[in-house]
Subunit: 279 residues, 3 copies
Amino acid sequence: MAVPSRSRRRAPTANGILTLLTDFGTADAFVGIMKGVILGMNRRARLVDLSHEVEPQNVLAGALLLRSAVDYFPRGTVHLVVVDPGVGSDRQALAIATTRAIFVGPDNGVLWPAAERLGLIRAHAVDCKQLARRKVVRLPVSRTFHGRDVFAPVAAYLSGGAPISSVGPTVDRLVELDIPACRVIDAALEGEVIHIDRFGNLITNIPAVELARFSEGRVSVSINGVQLRGILPSYAAVPEGRLLAVIGSWDLLEIAVRGGSAANRLGASRHAPVRVAAA
Amino acid sequence: MAVPSRSRRRAPTANGILTLLTDFGTADAFVGIMKGVILGMNRRARLVDLSHEVEPQNVLAGALLLRSAVDYFPRGTVHLVVVDPGVGSDRQALAIATTRAIFVGPDNGVLWPAAERLGLIRAHAVDCKQLARRKVVRLPVSRTFHGRDVFAPVAAYLSGGAPISSVGPTVDRLVELDIPACRVIDAALEGEVIHIDRFGNLITNIPAVELARFSEGRVSVSINGVQLRGILPSYAAVPEGRLLAVIGSWDLLEIAVRGGSAANRLGASRHAPVRVAAA
Amino acid sequence: MAVPSRSRRRAPTANGILTLLTDFGTADAFVGIMKGVILGMNRRARLVDLSHEVEPQNVLAGALLLRSAVDYFPRGTVHLVVVDPGVGSDRQALAIATTRAIFVGPDNGVLWPAAERLGLIRAHAVDCKQLARRKVVRLPVSRTFHGRDVFAPVAAYLSGGAPISSVGPTVDRLVELDIPACRVIDAALEGEVIHIDRFGNLITNIPAVELARFSEGRVSVSINGVQLRGILPSYAAVPEGRLLAVIGSWDLLEIAVRGGSAANRLGASRHAPVRVAAA
């Protein structure tokens, strides 16, 4: 994803709210330790947990969860994201300004869908040596816990009002995820399965907002030769064992079996085409 | 439950503390999104999670958990409750003032036991159109996520000090739950099973405080022809597989089997009579 | 553990941050109730959850988790710990000042490793009668929930700046845990297994910081006749079923089997000797 080279839009001013999204779980003290680091640097930060139960190292799941939440936080919120299978490798650490929010996390795509949704203004790579001179980061940085040693300090620093340009050099391209856009073709909305969760639910690249734009009436959803009538409000709308189309928690169209696996039922895998048409 | 028509007691002044109780779990961002909405409206709210692990759509479980907690929060706390199987139906959204706390949630009984415990002063139905004119609620409201679109904004608004009468018209009757009161009959305290949890524990309508009032000495508990001697301090007081009577986390008398199901062991179901007598 | 009789070091001044570490889980309202009590006494406390998923009544697990976290909180943080199998017995409740942090919890060893790490200054036993006169504690105290009735009020009181000496008499000896220190013998670092977790991971008494001091180069780890080469950054560094040595979440050397039980594989139990040598 290319970063606009000379955006005229101003980065938002930090409002003191700092959210945390990780795959660390809450049984260990990892999240608490990050909060200790943050409060040690910015005693007035308002901390909000988005989730710490992202499936471990599932960058796409973290990215979609983040994208589904950012519209609901006030302008100037800092979102700290640590879903980071590449920790210890040479992937960059990023600080990103968008029209609404500031993001801090690894450059592995996890920030990309949310940044694209909100409108990217500028991106900076975290320069630990530079930040060590400003006493933001303490060297040496561990190879395994950048959440504590890099991301939390940078997020705390920005949530206190530091300019994003002070974290390091600008970046002109972000790592993207493999999420193709859905398209309208021949009066149908065409997309595909982009993720299969651990229950066998098929998550598509068709956002609720695109569905609403496509049709205000009743639609049918086709996948692997099966046609489902209507998009239901929740799993509870059908009996156990029945297939349904539903808007999931990431605000995307999902194909599911109540109490079962849609992936098994339909023999569907990633990239399976999904087609929505007026019913 | 009838609302007192002209209570002279004054509704408490919001103290800025806002608790959240839901059945959303913490894996998704639903709770985080509600907090974003709240902090966007009242940056100074002090947020406290009561629990987000109420069994999905179990209104009674949410109601009893809420009732067990409200005594311990300072006067003027706002409790936001979203256990709401009727979302999208015509059930009303409520804001309730009691002698100690302010409640916001659906009119399905979930607020009732706590409101009754604290002493109800007044109740108002949330009028979304009226609140949209005050910029509290944004229209249209979704059919599936009133936690985000209705309850969180109203709770944030009240936690900031808005008068409860400004959310909508007064209500003169609240939906109740099927929780009969226990009674003293012939020197015994008589109650019944009101809930069986997923472990098979039998939760009764006999509160710890009634037991203490009934007897300061040793008691026996009878259910389905079995008599248990004494009320034990915890499950750990008996060996695996043994029946016991214990005060559970909702401050109610429970009949349990350590490491097993009391419901199966006793063949007991909801409404089974329970009798406490001096031992 | 002997408390220094006349330490000249000053106890830290409370900074308003208060962490909570319990084995209560988050499904019930226990943790929320403790927070209600705390905010009722100190409205400005900044609450941070360390974890509420310590294995029930596992004092050693709570102690090691606490020790792994305390370095990352700013000076003057109050850490409230309730892993308390002896609740209702005559074990004392403690308030402890160290060079960096203030601790409140039971005198069962759970505070000891963290207090030792930070440097103990003074320890006081909580005197509920004395604190009741100061309106900190309300009598009678329950026999089963000292988290709510004793520890939360004392932690709130101290987080608001009260002097630690006002909670009760000085204590000159703390209960310790059975955690022997590791030692360097004949150019090897010798330790032992101090805990086996529910996955069969063998946790040793060899801290990461001692390993770094012992050797900057490659090491081998010997246990029960098996020699492991190198200490790996994470479980993911080996295939399923393979033994490895790794630094665990408590910053201690662990012997593990990816996807299996090292305790079963090695027939190792608590106190099994572990030896680290240059490779």
